[in-house]
């Protein structure tokens, strides 16, 4: 009976509609996971930039939809879209819409959490597409492993909760990659690829780089078409429809859906590009050295990705590289090996995107800061390699122990749990301090701190600390943060507004506040002096992870 039930389930999973079922189940799982951990996630300094801007954009859209045509005048457009105009509006607009949906109209969530639901929804959409891609590549186990692996990466998990642009661009980047992949056999997907690429361009500057691996892949896939049909002639392969659509629809959509570009288009486009070409340096503490300008060395993104991803996932991804098959069949376009060639194509496509997403940050002379946030689009591709790695490990076990072939299901589950359980456990254990997570590869946070990595960043307004203030602070208490008080002035207003902090507690620029909080962030030049200054003060509350202090609260002055 049980066996028949399992067989039926297996058949269902392997059928085409089963692919959708697996993807939807995983999507639901991710949505529940992210929403259930949303309220405990602290507030980053970026939240205060993007959420208000998104609310302004969505308000403007509301005016347009209610036929308030004055909203289309230059003055009104600029009033709404001048906020945070250094980044395109799409992800912020989604946050703004979610603010109205989940807070303003329904009161389901506090204001900022409602805006952050926009990021949660985009992360959920990413899970859906990732599951579909992984399933098509290596089957249902790969879909499960890829999705669970992605959200078992602590840094990615953290960013999937906060109102920043990095997970949204990871989502839209992957959507672009996925749409192009599907467009190879579908004109509808080709048209869709252009739209998705346009939305990706409208999210963050990582998006245009998606063209690089796509062009390279298309060239590799069609290199035989360069062959001369006859002496003296040179043939160019046909441009893939999906790519054509991306090149035409994408930029059009970029201008059409960014109202600020409707006026002074060339000038403002120039400003946008110039801003990012000359991005101001941001402190980055890396291997015991502070970088501002010149920026950190090329290897910093690779090292950061390695040390902040659970070791077992890195190992599985490496195992995935060991066992990638079909690359030669794909290059040689062997008709007899169509299945292997398709698998090789998947592998090459994933590798090209993985390298591009991190390589653009590593090698293009752009600023490097904020841990791994600048190249979050890398991690879905790492998750795919993890999935491939587990699949390949299953094959390896069966190859070495042939008598287990009949128990393949069991081996799959066992290896899946072996790889995913430790990663998922450390991610949940580190919540909501995922930014302080470092893998066993460097000895955890203790080892990372000793080697010279930053133990946190983003000036996170921690809700545990707010709860401690609520319980312990006297009436009308004031709090002063060091070394970077100005960000907390803004984020603590959100905490109070959303009911996480008593309204009588205020952050002040005055260093004689009731409480002084020293965040142990060594990228600030003033940190050593501050640490010495506060050394003899009594600590009244402290957050430590594995013994390493993240912040200390002193009763001041």
């Amino acid at each position: 009976m049980m066996r028949r039930l399992l067989d039926r389930c297996w058949f269902w999973l392997l059928a085409d509609r089963g692919r959708m079922l697996v993807a939807l189940t995983l999507t639901l799982f991710v949505f529940v996971l992210l929403t259930s951990t949303l309220r405990s996630t602290g507030i980053t300094d970026d939240d205060d930039f993007y959420a208000p801007a998104g609310i302004a954009y969505a308000s403007h859209t509301g005016r347009v939809l209610t036929l308030d045509l004055r909203a289309l005048t230059r003055a009104e457009v600029d009033r709404a879209f001048d906020q945070n105009h250094e980044h395109p509006p799409f992800a912020k607009w989604v946050m703004g819409v979610c603010y109205f949906l989940f807070h303003q109209w329904t009161h389901l969530l506090p204001a900022l959490d409602a805006a952050r639901m926009g990021v949660v929804l985009l992360a959920t959409a990413l899970a859906f597409m990732l599951a579909l891609f992984a399933h098509a590549w290596r089957g249902p186990l790969a879909a499960v492993v890829a999705v669970v692996a992605l959200f078992s990466m602590p840094r990615f998990f953290f960013h999937a909760h906060v109102a920043t642009l990095d997970v949204p661009v990871a989502c839209l980047y992957f959507a672009t990659a996925y749409a192009f992949w599907r467009s190879r056999r579908s004109a509808r997907w080709a048209a869709f690829a252009g739209v998705v690429f346009g939305l990706a361009l409208l999210t963050k500057l990582n998006a245009p780089f998606a063209l690089l691996p796509i062009v390279v892949f298309a060239l590799v896939e069609r290199w035989r078409a360069f062959a001369r049909p006859e002496p003296g002639h040179f043939a160019l392969p046909a441009i893939p429809l999906g790519l054509l659509s991306m090149l035409i629809v994408g930029p059009l959509l970029f201008v059409a859906l960014w109202p600020r570009l409707w006026f002074d288009t060339i000038k403002r486009l120039g400003e946008y590009i110039a801003y990012h070409l000359n991005h101001y340096p941001i402190y980055f503490y890396y291997l015991g050295r502070l970088y501002e300008q010149p920026f950190a060395p090329w290897h910093a993104p690779f090292v950061m990705a390695f040390v902040t991803t659970p070791l077992i996932l890195i190992a599985a991804a490496v195992a995935g590289l060991f066992g990638l098959r079909g690359l030669r069949d794909f290059f040689c376009a062997r008709p007899a090996a169509a299945g292997a060639a398709e698998e090789g194509g998947h592998a090459l496509y994933v590798l090209l995107h993985a390298f591009t997403t991190i390589g653009t940050v590593a090698f293009l002379g752009s600023p490097k800061y904020g841990g791994v946030k600048l190249f979050l689009p890398l991690f879905p591709f790492i998750a795919l390699l993890v999935a491939a790695g587990v699949d390949i490990a299953v094959d390896a076990v069966l190859r070495l122990v042939p008598r287990l072939v009949a128990r393949r299901d069991l081996v799959q589950v066992a290896l899946g749990v072996l790889v995913l359980a430790p990663a998922a456990a450390v991610t949940l254990a580190s919540h909501p301090f995922e930014l302080s997570y470092y893998s066993a590869g460097v000895g955890g946070l203790r080892g990372a701190t000793a080697i010279g990595f930053e133990r946190q960043y983003y000036d996170v307004a921690d809700k545990e600390l707010a709860a401690w203030f609520n319980a312990n602070a006297p009436q009308s208490a004031t709090v002063h943060f060091e070394p970077n008080n100005k960000e907390y002035l803004k984020t603590y207003r959100w905490l109070a507004r959303d009911g996480y902090l008593r309204n009588d507690i205020n952050v002040t620029g005055n260093s004689s506040a009731t409480y002084q909080v020293l965040t142990h962030e060594r990228r600030w030049a003033t940190y050593p002096d501050l640490a010495t200054h506060y050394a003899r003060s009594a600590v009244v509350y402290e957050k430590r992870i594995d013994g390493v202090p993240l912040y200390s609260v002193y009763a001041g002055p």
């Binding site: 290596r138 089957g139 186990l141 340096p281 015991g288 050295r289 502070l290 970088y291 501002e292 070791l311 077992i312 890195i314 190992a315 599985a316 490496v318 195992a319 060991f322 066992g323 098959r325 299945g339 292997a340 698998e343 790695g389 699949d391 390949i392 490990a393 094959d395 390896a396 076990v397 069966l398 190859r399 042939p402 072939v405 393949r408 072996l418 790889v419 430790p422 066993a440 590869g441 460097v442 000895g443 955890g444 203790r446 080892g447 701190t449 000793a450 080697i451 010279g452 030049a525 003033t526 050593p528 002096d529 501050l530 640490a531 200054h533 430590r544 594995d546 013994g547 390493v548 202090p549």
Partner: protein, 339 residues
């Protein structure tokens, strides 16, 4: 799965080895993770271990400042302060020219993540109490170099006397910042202050005294304590981020001992942290004065430091700062015009 090989047949050796490699990678990751968890030599120190360390320091470093190295082991510093409240415990800045070196006991904290944790060493063996076997740059310093007692500028910044002469006025910068020993000058721009900063100069972090000159003005910094040294080792430079400023003007640093002008040093708009050994001849007892000036300000993020030294003047420089690849040329470019 995408393909199901026929495992019942003999598999090629390469495929077999590849299977072994795949499983080995996973196994290593699992074992490594288990080893590191809770076993690391980097574990935060416990009270008992720090008490042992404090007892060592009682014997070997009585009356001296204790510097914890590497500087991020604040867990060690914190517990050591609790164990010996009267002990002056500091975290070493990664690069800190002119710390009061001779008065220091350096505690080096070892680390070894991973299986190195299975060392047979007892916890106390993590620490090495040394009489500054290496300086804070990691450069060996032998006792014979006679490296001096303390930074003349950073040792007690609050006690420095700072004034700015500009537009025929003399402004006394006596507004000490409550957050730190920084001299602020009333009615002058905020950046026109004098105080300790960490700047990237010549590609390295430098802890030094910020003295941003003002157009046509002079910053005068007096070290009010009598000088007792036979030479001064002077450090100065422009922050790397400021060197790129277009039309950046050279900054002039003049050094006086009492009424005697010891030297005038010009820092051009070039990177590098320059070091000058200024011989005083006989051990001098005058007070030192540093004067910083520029014809036109604009991103003149100038920083300096000075260390007093005793003993005979060595023929060759006794201390070499780590240089970035571009620094030697820049150092040579910095011109010196002796009085």
């Amino acid at each position: 799965m995408s393909s199901v090989p026929n495992f019942t047949t003999e598999t090629p050796p390469l495929a077999r080895w590849r299977a072994i490699a795949v499983l080995a990678v996973l196994a290593i990751a699992v074992v490594w993770s288990l080893l590191v968890r809770g076993c690391s030599h980097d574990a935060p120190v416990d009270v008992q271990t720090v008490e042992q360390l404090a007892q060592q320091l009682d014997q070997r470093a009585a009356g001296r400042t204790v510097v914890i190295h590497p500087p991020w082991r604040d867990d060690v510093a914190s517990l050591l302060r609790q164990a010996r409240p009267k002990l002056d415990v500091r975290l070493a800045a990664p690069v800190q020219a002119g710390l009061p070196t001779g008065a220091l006991a350096l505690v080096r904290v070892g680390w070894s993540p991973g299986p190195g944790a299975f060392s047979t060493l007892s916890p106390i063996d993590r620490f090495a109490v040394a009489d500054l076997a290496v300086d804070l740059y990691g450069t060996p310093v032998s006792a014979a170099t006679g490296r001096g007692d303390r930074s003349l500028l950073l040792g007690d910044v609050a006690a420095l006397q700072v004034q700015v002469e500009v537009g025929g006025r003399t402004i006394v910068c006596s507004d000490l910042d409550p957050n730190g020993p920084t001299h602020r000058c009333p009615s002058l721009p905020e950046w026109n202050h004098v105080g300790p900063h960490d700047l990237v100069i010549g590609g390295q972090n430098r802890h030094c005294l910020w003295a941003h000159p003002i157009s046509g003005g002079r910053i005068i910094i007096d070290a009010p304590w009598p000088l007792s040294a036979s030479r001064i080792r002077l450090f100065y430079g422009l922050a790397d981020s400021a060197v790129g400023a277009p039309d950046g003007q050279p900054v002039t640093l003049e050094l006086f001992a009492g009424d005697r002008k010891l030297g005038s040093y010009v820092q051009p708009n070039q990177p590098g942290y320059n070091e000058q050994l200024v011989a005083l001849g006989e051990p001098a007892s005058e007070k030192l004065r540093f004067v910083v000036s520029v014809t036109q300000d604009g991103a003149r993020h100038f920083c300096l430091d000075a260390v007093a030294e005793r003993g005979p003047t060595p023929v060759a420089p006794v201390l070499k700062l780590p240089q970035s690849s571009s620094q030697p040329a820049a150092s040579q470019a910095a011109s010196r015009s002796a009085p």
